[in-house]
Symmetry: C2
Subunit: 437 residues, 2 copies
């Protein structure tokens, strides 16, 4: 089975665990098989492999997520990188061209496209496999998965099938309706459109060439920023007559708000937190080292990270976005492909951060124009390069770098250091990359 | 007016703002006259001075509080230091001897003793002044302030006066009653005992010499740890026949729980926090740099400090103590006479802290046996002494100290530094003080 996982953009609805650079799919809140916690993307990746160990998985995403994906899924994860955000039709066209031109898949191979963030069980991935087989048998040009509705939701588009069979041709699509109209649709046997579909590569490549002037993957990639933003539903699905839908009645949850996310949590508490016996329907996710104590709370979610602290009634949490947009605070924690960093202290003319490098990883060779830096290695060992000179370092070593000085560090074991940045105008933009001499 | 302020022990009922080394009287939650915030002890100190600019104020407290008191009230604050905790009778006897033997007050001078932590207004301090005058006129051996009860509380002792006059002899005292008994007392005209009283120094000195074998202040101080723990009420008040009480009907609040403390807050929010419009009767005190966002909360207190985060229904917050006792976490922030420190990161073999020294202040000259240290100065300037060698330092300078090396730093201006401690057994107890050579 070939799968394209669409890994969507950053979101603030799950602040303070999601932010401008950390999307919800990277938050570790699900129990993993080894007793720890895994993120949505780790969970989905593992679930696919459990159903089909040889599945070929490609993640379609923007370059901002590459670090997080490699951090969570490993360096070998296959990624179709969107140079900028251009909605789902360009993203799927690019990923399809990537499978064909870069990974060398035959144009008659089938791929299943699905979002990375629904909360689902094994049966869902078995259904994806069936979907792939239906597309391979040319059941239709496009084969969609239709979710059996559990209530007349206003937040999904609806698919009206021609008949009530497990697999049916699609009669028509309906935009997101109001509740009354949704009830009518459901009475007609309508299904939710979950944005999951299977096709042969040649089908989407043909559509893409009809709509975009490009030769191959590399050409499409180079002109990606010139493409019109348009959804796959609008550009392809609504214009296609030959579409089939397969019903799916299993678990399928959209974990877009704290309310829905906490419903999927297996334990009321993640991290260092304690609730007294008078708390009801309350969830705590604490990424900080210090303890959280909750007393007498009802229907509340508490979430704490290096970026901030949310305390919200669960229903109210759906309205979080404008409040988070109004918070003008720097991002205090980030996962990178090489490890992670945490901002520990910000003063007028200094910033102190903790840097963790995974074994075998290195920073880029770089310099800053307007700040000096001091590294104190607190654990592990590795090598620094400062103005071309390489040196072995271990816990306790101190490296001072004046502004302008080129520097990097490579971790031989996992390596942690405290970096003190000193200067009047400290900014993440003050960074110049260099080639090693 | 001479005043002894009893500054009580550490408490955990206001965790995470109070802890083993930070008592509630040092939490800055009241609007000060300069637009910032002041603590209970700062507020009371300022209020006394506003009523009587020449008041002679002595704080009776344990040595653990000296740093915080000097930090908040200035180096010149007069402190009667209890070498260890021995309840209120020994503490008041020691402070009274301190006034007589160290400050040289005449034994006929009057002193008013009152706790440091009630939330009161100007009228209260004017009443203290009247109390002092009553004692000076030998109205009785002891003159108490009796609070007009506002409800049949179970948490106070009751004073039954002989008559309903403003000033009256005391008929009898009653221990903390149940609600029904309290109603009876109030019907008889009883007053709450707030632990506020005035006397001539010679009176308490005489009682002290009757109960304790000591010559003068220094002798009492040296044998303080051998004294029996006993309250002033039990040792003196209940055995004295000649006691007067003065009624007080003004504001007088005991701010011992989050519920009562938030009632005294003038603003719903202190620190970096935001509430949406659906929050009701909710208070937030955030000492952290990162934002707190509250949505849809009702009757909730949220309090965040470097030590932890509390989210509690206000009524439930009265039951906090056993939960805080169960939290086994190190203290992450402390105010000292020379400034403050904050623990920023704890790893297995390193601890990183931020140290702030007030201008003109210095650390003790000290060494550690089992850890190296690295200082990176992030602001200000001063001088370090390392193994006897003095050196000027400024922002950007790095000082490395091996285990065993003697060191200190003096701040010429306010000075901040990041200290990285490195070693396998880092402990606050690993500290040896030295004399400067």
């Amino acid at each position: 089975m070939n799968i394209i996982l669409l890994s969507g953009g950053s979101g603030k609805r799950l602040w303070p665990l999601s932010n401008d650079i950390r999307s919800k799919q990277f938050i570790k809140i699900f129990k993993s098989e080894d007793g720890g916690y895994e993120s949505m993307v780790q969970r989905v990746y593992r679930q696919i492999r459990n159903v089909d160990a040889s599945a070929d998985i490609t993640v379609a995403t923007s370059k901002e997520q590459i670090s997080s994906l490699k951090n969570q899924l490993g360096e070998d994860v296959s990624i179709s990188v969107e140079p900028c955000r251009r909605d789902t039709f360009p993203a799927i066209a690019l990923a399809t061209a990537y499978l064909h031109d870069v990974k060398g898949m035959d144009e008659n191979e089938v791929v299943v496209v699905c979002p990375v963030d629904p909360y689902v069980q094994k049966e869902y991935f078995e259904a994806l496999h069936s979907l792939s087989e239906l597309a391979a048998k040319d059941t239709a040009n496009l084969v969609l998965m239709g979710m059996e509705p559990t209530y007349p939701s206003e937040k999904y588009g609806y698919i009206i099938p021609e008949c009530a069979e497990k697999v049916s041709k699609v009669a028509t699509f309906k935009e997101k309706p109001d509740t009354e109209t949704a009830k009518d649709y459901i009475a007609q046997g309508a299904l939710w459109n979950g944005g999951i579909f299977a096709y042969k590569l040649k089908y989407v490549l043909k559509r893409a060439h009809e709509l975009i002037d490009f030769t191959d993957y590399h050409d499409l990639y180079s002109k990606y920023d010139t493409l019109t933003k348009i959804s796959f539903d609008y550009a392809v699905v609504e214009k296609e007559d030959d579409i089939a839908v397969m019903r799916f009645a299993g678990d399928w949850k959209d974990l877009g708000t704290w309310n829905t996310l906490t419903e999927a949590m297996e334990e009321a508490v993640i991290g260092n937190a304690r609730m007294n016996e008078t708390c009801e329907n309350t969830h705590v996710i604490n990424e900080l080292d210090v303890p959280v104590l909750c007393m007498g709370l009802k229907d509340i979610v508490v979430s704490a990270s290096a970026d901030g602290i949310l305390v919200s009634d669960k229903n109210e949490s759906s309205y979080i976005k404008p409040f988070v947009d109004a918070i003008d605070a720097p991002i205090m924690y980030a996962e990178k492909s090489w490890g992670s960093y945490r901002v520990m202290d910000v003063e007028e003319e200094s910033t102190t951060i903790k840097v963790t490098l995974h074994a075998g990883n290195a920073m880029n060779y770089h310099s800053h124009e307007r700040r000096d830096e001091v590294w104190t290695i607190i654990s592990g060992c590795g090598r620094t390069v400062v103005d071309g000179m390489e040196q072995s370092v271990k816990a306790g070593d101190v490296i001072t770098m004046q502004a302008g000085c080129k520097h990097m560090i490579m971790a031989d074991t996992e390596l942690k250091l405290i970096e003190v940045q000193l200067g009047k105008e400290i900014s993440v933009d003050d960074k110049k990359k260099h080639e090693r001499e």
